[in-house]
Amino acid sequence: MAAARGNPRILAFVCSWHPMAAADNAGADGRSYGTATAIVPVDCAGVVSAAAILRAFSSDVDGVLIAACGSGDCHYSNGNESCERVVQETRDLMGLAGLAPQRLRLDLSSDVDGGRFVALLDEFAVELAGLNGRAGRERPAPSRSAGKKPAKASKAKATARKKPAKAKRAATKKTATGKRTSRKKSVAAGKKPAKASKAKAAARKKPAARAKRKR
């Protein structure tokens, strides 16, 4: 495993609640990960700005991981949801800038198991090692998950911002399970980015937040 993953430079923003417990446990349990992986502690994933993510990339890191609490478990109510939006936007920008969006990963989990945290890092490292093989030539890959139509993306974005506590709560309830599954899937699918990218190349003709709007 270690050989496959190499030692890519990963910067991990770790939320101070569940994910930090997982990160702390990883150490306390005596597990290990690459020395080029370093943690930036944050109160909540919600404070991680696109600027902070991009700053990491312009400081030559290979990948950025954001470890947030699981869906519905944010101690601040919706910091993790807010982070999802920031991540989506940042990935869109990365894609345009020619930086593989897979280099930015958001993990939403309330699992405080150190083993899971290390596995996550390892898996990310493997993916990044693959991307690094094509350094500078990496293709903007399917960050805009599965060819989401532009109009949709921006609409979703808009609704994500509109809070109403009550409505939001209902929405969370409904999607709670769905989100978890899809997250697992994306972790698995992440291993074959190139393929996905080809498949979706046509659909991606138009960048995410675009859709000509007539006002």
């Binding site: 430079r9 910067l11 101070s16 609640w17 930090m20 417990a21 990160a23 702390d24 446990n25 990883a26 150490g27 306390a28 005596g30 597990r31 290990s32 990960y33 020395t35 080029a36 370093a38 943690i39 930036v40 502690p41 944050v42 109160d43 909540c44 919600g46 404070v47 700005s49 696109a50 600027a51 902070a52 700053r55 990491a56 400081s59 030559d60 890191v61 869906s71 519905g72 478990d73 944010c74 101690h75 601040y76 109510s77 919706n78 910091g79 807010s82 939006r85 920031v86 290390v118 911002r161 509109k162 809070k163 506590a165 009550k166 939001k168 709560r169 969370t172 309830k173 709670a176 399970t177």
Partner: protein
């Protein structure tokens, strides 16, 4: 404006952490690098900064060197944070200028045997801490006056207990109950576990006692529709059928309880008159069971499934309590309880077993089927299909949150979880730090609770509320967002994004609205900072400049 270089001297305190850090991270080399850099930094190493001696040394060093900021590089913030911050604050360093860097779990522990690489990484982590400390503002606590009175929302056993207990401390209480009558769910319950006393009578007594106290005002048939203000000074809008009143109090106790799920469509409920819920069964027990002799009880009806993955906690206890009551009334009753494993940790399970109640375990993948006069179930223990004849099927359904509670939580700025229960601030880590001060949650509104638990929580909340109300003013660490009013362009994106209604949009002279933060509602999540086009709102305890500098330092950007 972010400024560095003008913010004084930083002390870096490297911890050997016994044999944890020192063997992996070369602290000598690390100190040399840090001390040798062109930064206003002094470095100190000791075996345990968290020890009594270590803390005295830390405080002494702060005073001796006149340090303005402190970086402690040792173990987890979650463990060491409160202690080291307290030590530094006592020695005169602002809490916001005390930064913890985790060299143990995030470095030494995970990089054993790679001394050089671990040391290099440790340097980056410490620099990130120094950058954060250098840019940290001195933040003063938020201070506000205290109105020595309380509002209790909910007139069930939890709310009544709080009201009675606060009143006994001579604290004026207004209790708001949405129904015409006090007593809540207990009115519908037959007997209480473990005393088996009459539940309705008991709650009536408590209600009478509370109502009789001159310090308590009872506002029944009323609901809270608006909340303004903050800890020490809340203003509630309370509406009843014909009027709307304002209520000023120093704290709010939320004790709205929970609803019992009506299992429409499950196990023939609603179609078959012989299928009732445990709550309905309580009433039947009170009125007499009649001819019913063969009773099948099914647990976890509508809970521990995909929609409601939680265990409702109280149903097993209630079910067992009811089997015993049945056997008291109908000694030859045949009771079969179909469970998915017993989740109760107090209760009369053994007593029920010895009294002849049959317990079968069913598999949620193969749930029991209620037929015309039998319930068919696959018993997991015996791996056999079993058919049980019945006169009555009793379904144990979970407590579910009232929609109204979610709304109230929203008004109060308290997060609720995905099931609609109040999400309490983490009780083990930093208790109370992110809860809106002055709001206390009691009973099943927070999570299904037994009567005993409700009362314990009620007394605990009373103590904490009384503590709050005993001071003239309250202070709080300003872990909140702040709006630069000169910058704010009044677009309202922050108010829209805030899940805590902590942003108030005010009219200004220039015709452009101005956002301001209700510092007590604000939990400091920073969601608003991501949507502000002008970057007018920021977390003063973690500014964009701090975060960027930490990222650069951690990434080793030169």
């Amino acid at each position: 404006m972010t400024s560095i270089g003008t913010n004084g001297r930083v002390g870096v305190f490297l911890c050997e952490c016994g044999e944890e850090i020192a063997p992996v991270v070369d602290l000598t080399k690390l100190s040399a690098k840090i001390g040798g850099a062109d930064m206003p930094v002094s470095v100190h190493v000791t075996r345990y900064w968290c020890s009594g001696a270590g803390r005295r040394l830390l405080a002494g060093t702060i005073e001796k060197e006149g340090l303005d900021a402190v970086v402690v590089a040792g173990c987890s913030e979650r463990i060491l944070g409160p202690l080291m911050r307290d030590t530094a604050v006592r020695a005169g360093v602002n809490w916001n200028r005390t930064v913890l860097v985790n060299l143990k779990e995030h470095c030494a522990n995970v990089h054993g045997g790679k001394r050089a690489a671990a040391t290099a990484k440790a340097l980056r982590l410490v620099w990130a801490g120094v950058e954060k400390a250098l840019r940290a503002e001195k933040l003063e606590p938020i201070v506000s006056d205290v109105n020595r009175s309380a509002a209790v929302i909910g007139g069930g056993i939890s709310g009544l207990t709080v009201a009675r207990s606060l009143a006994a401390r001579d604290i004026p209480v207004t209790l708001i109950e949405r129904e015409a009558e006090l007593g809540g769910t207990l009115r519908s319950i037959n007997r209480l576990f473990p005393s088996y006393c009459n539940s309705a009578e008991y709650v009536r007594e408590v209600a009478a006692e509370a109502s009789g106290d001159p310090n308590v005002e009872m506002w029944t048939s009323s609901r809270v529709t608006g909340v303004a203000g903050h800890a020490g000074d809340f203003r509630l809008t309370v509406e009843s059928a014909d009027s709307s009143r304002e209520l000023s109090v120093g704290c709010v106790v939320l004790a709205t309880g929970a609803d019992v799920l009506v299992p429409d469509g499950l196990f023939e409920y609603g179609d078959n008159p012989k299928v009732v819920t445990q709550l309905e069964f309580e009433a039947m027990l009170r009125e007499g069971l009649g001819t019913a002799k063969r009773i099948v009880m099914i647990q976890c009806v509508g809970s521990r499934n995909e929609e409601r993955p939680y265990c409702s906690r109280v149903c097993c206890t209630a079910t067992v309590k009811n089997t015993i009551t049945v056997l008291e009334q109908v000694p030859n009753a045949e009771i079969t309880v179909l469970t998915r494993g017993f989740a109760q940790y107090v209760g009369d399970l053994d007593r029920a077993r010895s009294a002849g109640v049959t317990f079968l375990r069913y598999d949620p993948e193969r749930p029991p089927e209620v037929g015309v006069d039998t319930v068919e179930v696959f018993d997991v223990i015996s791996s056999e299909e079993v058919a049980v004849r019945y006169d009555l099927v009793v379904l144990a359904t979970p407590l579910v949150a009232y929609d109204e509670t979610v709304e109230l939580a929203g008004l109060l700025g308290v997060p609720s979880d995905r099931h609609g229960f109040i999400a309490e601030p983490h009780t083990k880590l930093r208790p109370g730090r992110f809860a809106p001060r002055g709001v206390f949650i009691v009973g099943s509104a927070h999570w299904p609770a037994t009567v005993t638990e409700c009362q314990s929580q009620a007394y605990s909340a009373t103590a904490r509320a009384a503590e709050l109300l005993s001071s003239d003013v309250i202070e709080r660490e300003p872990v909140v967002a702040a709006v630069d009013e000169l910058t704010c362009r009044g677009c309202g994106e922050c108010a829209e994004a805030c899940a805590h209604d902590a942003v108030v949009m005010r009219d200004s002279d220039d015709g452009i609205k101005t956002a301001s933060i209700d510092t007590v509602r604000c939990v400091g999540c920073g969601v608003c900072t991501q949507v502000c086009p002008s970057s007018a709102v920021m977390l003063r305890h973690l500014t964009p400049g701090q975060l960027l500098a930490m990222v650069s330092a951690t990434a080793g950007r030169r």
